[in-house]
C-alpha cells in the first residue's frame, strides 16, 4: 500500500506533502516516514494518509478561468496612470491639502510637481 507523507516544518506551518512510502499498515508507514524524511530536523509534525484516500480533481484545466476574470487579481487594477491623472486633477483644482504629516508620508504629488517644475 502506498502512503503519502505530510509534514510541518514549524508549529506555525500548514501541512505540506513531503514524500511517499510503501508499507502494509499505518504504524509501519509512520515509522518508515519518520526514518525516510525526518532524520535531519526537517519538521515538528508528521502524518501519513493512504494514497487511495486522496481524491484528485479530475479536470485541472477547469482551474483556468474560461472568461476574463482579471477583476479577481491585483494586476486587474493597474493604478499608475490613474494615480497620475488624479494628481493632475487635484493640482488643476488647486485642492492639495498640505499639513503636517509623518516624514515618510510626504505628498506623492508634491514630488510629482517638483519633478515637472523645470519644464513648466
Amino acid at each position: 500500500m502506498r502512503w503519502e507523507v505530510l509534514g510541518r516544518r514549524t508549529h506555525d506551518d500548514a501541512w505540506t506533502a513531503v514524500g511517499a512510502v510503501h508499507a502494509p499498515d499505518r504504524d509501519l508507514a509512520l515509522l518508515l516516514a519518520k526514518e525516510s524524511f525526518f532524520r535531519h530536523g526537517e519538521g515538528v509534525d508528521l502524518a501519513v494518509v493512504l494514497l487511495a484516500d486522496i481524491h484528485r480533481f479530475a479536470e485541472p484545466e477547469l482551474l483556468e478561468p474560461s472568461t476574463d476574470k482579471s477583476y479577481r487579481l491585483q494586476r486587474g487594477y493597474p493604478l499608475g496612470d490613474k494615480r497620475r491623472r488624479a494628481a493632475e486633477r487635484v493640482q488643476a483644482a488647486g485642492a492639495t491639502i498640505d499639513r503636517p504629516r509623518p516624514a515618510d508620508r510626504r505628498a506623492r504629488n508634491t514630488e510629482h510637481r517638483s519633478r515637472e517644475a523645470p519644464s513648466s
Partner: protein
C-alpha cells in the same frame, strides 16, 4: 498539575512566542475569548458583504458589477473559513449563524450603516478595507495558530479589495466636480464610523485579548497606524477629513483626533444602528428561504439507478 499551574504554564507558552493549536489544552478564559473574537470577525465578514451587495445592481459598469460580485463572494468565503476555525473552539456553526441573525451576537459597527451613493462604495473599499487590513495584518501575530493560518489568506484577498477600492477612489478624484463632491460627501458621512471601528482607547493592562496574545497591539496603536497611512493619501487627493481636531504632531509623532461620539459607537455595536434591523431581517429571510438548499446538500447522495 492544578488548573492554576496549567494556566500559568499556558500563559508562559504564549509570552514565549509559542502558538496554540485547537487540540492543545487551554484555560476556559482563553477558549471563550478566542471564540468570541473569531466569531465576531466571522459575523462581520458575513454582514459586511451586505452593504456592497446593495450596489451590485447599481454599479456603473459591467466590470464594476463583476468586481463587487467577486468581492462579496470573497467576504462570504472569509466568513465560512472563520466559522470553521471558531467551531473547533466549541460552538457549532449553526448556533453561531442563529445567534447572529437573531441579534444575540455582535458584528463590526461599520456594517450597521447605509450605503447611499457610489461614493460610499469607494469609502468602503478604500478606507474600511484599509482599516480592516491594518487590524488584520496586526493579527498575524496572534497566539491562536488556526486563526493565523486563515488570516494569511484573508489578508491576501483584503489587499486585493483595498486595491479595488483605491481604483474607484482615484477614478472619482480624477473625475468631474460632481464625482469629487460625491466622494468627499461619503468621506464626511463615514469618518466617524471609521474612527469608531478601532474602538475607544483601552487600558492595555485590562484588555483580556492582549493578555492572551489574541491581539498584540492596542486600539490606539492601530488607529495611529491607520491615520498615518490614509490621512496623507486623502489630503494628496484634495479630500478633507471632517475632524477639526485632527492634527499630526511632528515632535511626538502622534496624531491628535477629536471625539467621534462614543455613545453612538456603543449604541450601534449593541444592535441599534441605522441599518441593523434591515440587514438582519434580510439575513433571516435568506436563511429561512434557503433552508432547502442546506437540507438537500446535507442529504446522502442518491445515485441514479
Amino acid at each position: 498539575m492544578s488548573y492554576e499551574a496549567r494556566t500559568r504554564a499556558f500563559k508562559a507558552r504564549i509570552d514565549g512566542g509559542e502558538r496554540i493549536e485547537a487540540t492543545d489544552w487551554m484555560p476556559d478564559e482563553y477558549r471563550h475569548a478566542a471564540l468570541a473574537f473569531i466569531e465576531m470577525h466571522a459575523n462581520s465578514e458575513i454582514m459586511g458583504a451586505l452593504p456592497e451587495r446593495e450596489w451590485i445592481a447599481r454599479a456603473p459598469s459591467l466590470r464594476r458589477k463583476l468586481s463587487l460580485t467577486s468581492k462579496v463572494q470573497d467576504e462570504v468565503g472569509h466568513g465560512h473559513m472563520l466559522y470553521r476555525v471558531a467551531e473547533d473552539l466549541g460552538k457549532p456553526r449553526e448556533k453561531m449563524i442563529d445567534d447572529l441573525i437573531h441579534g444575540r451576537t455582535k458584528f463590526h459597527n461599520v456594517f450597521h450603516y447605509p450605503t447611499e451613493t457610489w461614493g460610499d462604495i469607494a469609502v468602503i473599499g478604500y478606507l474600511i478595507d484599509g482599516a480592516a487590513l491594518v487590524t488584520q495584518r496586526a493579527l498575524l501575530e496572534c497566539s491562536y495558530a488556526p486563526y493565523v493560518r486563515v488570516l494569511k489568506r484573508i489578508c491576501a484577498e483584503e489587499s486585493l479589495h483595498q486595491r479595488h477600492g483605491e481604483d474607484i477612489v482615484l477614478e472619482l478624484c480624477a473625475g468631474s466636480d460632481a464625482q469629487r463632491e460625491m466622494f468627499q460627501d461619503a468621506v464626511n458621512r463615514w469618518w466617524r464610523p471609521v474612527m469608531h471601528f478601532f474602538g475607544p482607547p483601552s487600558k492595555p493592562d485590562r484588555d483580556v485579548l492582549l493578555h492572551w496574545g489574541l491581539k498584540t497591539r492596542t486600539n490606539e496603536q492601530l488607529r495611529q497606524q491607520f491615520l498615518s497611512t490614509y490621512v496623507p493619501k486623502l489630503w494628496d487627493l484634495g479630500i478633507d477629513v471632517p475632524d477639526p481636531d485632527l492634527a499630526y504632531d511632528e515632535a511626538t509623532g502622534e496624531w491628535a483626533w477629536g471625539d467621534p461620539g462614543w455613545e453612538e459607537f456603543w449604541r450601534v455595536v449593541k444592535g441599534d444602528g441605522p441599518m441593523t434591523e434591515t440587514r438582519l431581517a434580510w439575513r433571516r429571510w435568506m436563511s429561512e428561504g434557503h433552508g432547502w438548499v442546506r437540507d438537500t446538500l446535507a442529504a446522502p447522495a442518491r445515485t441514479a439507478a
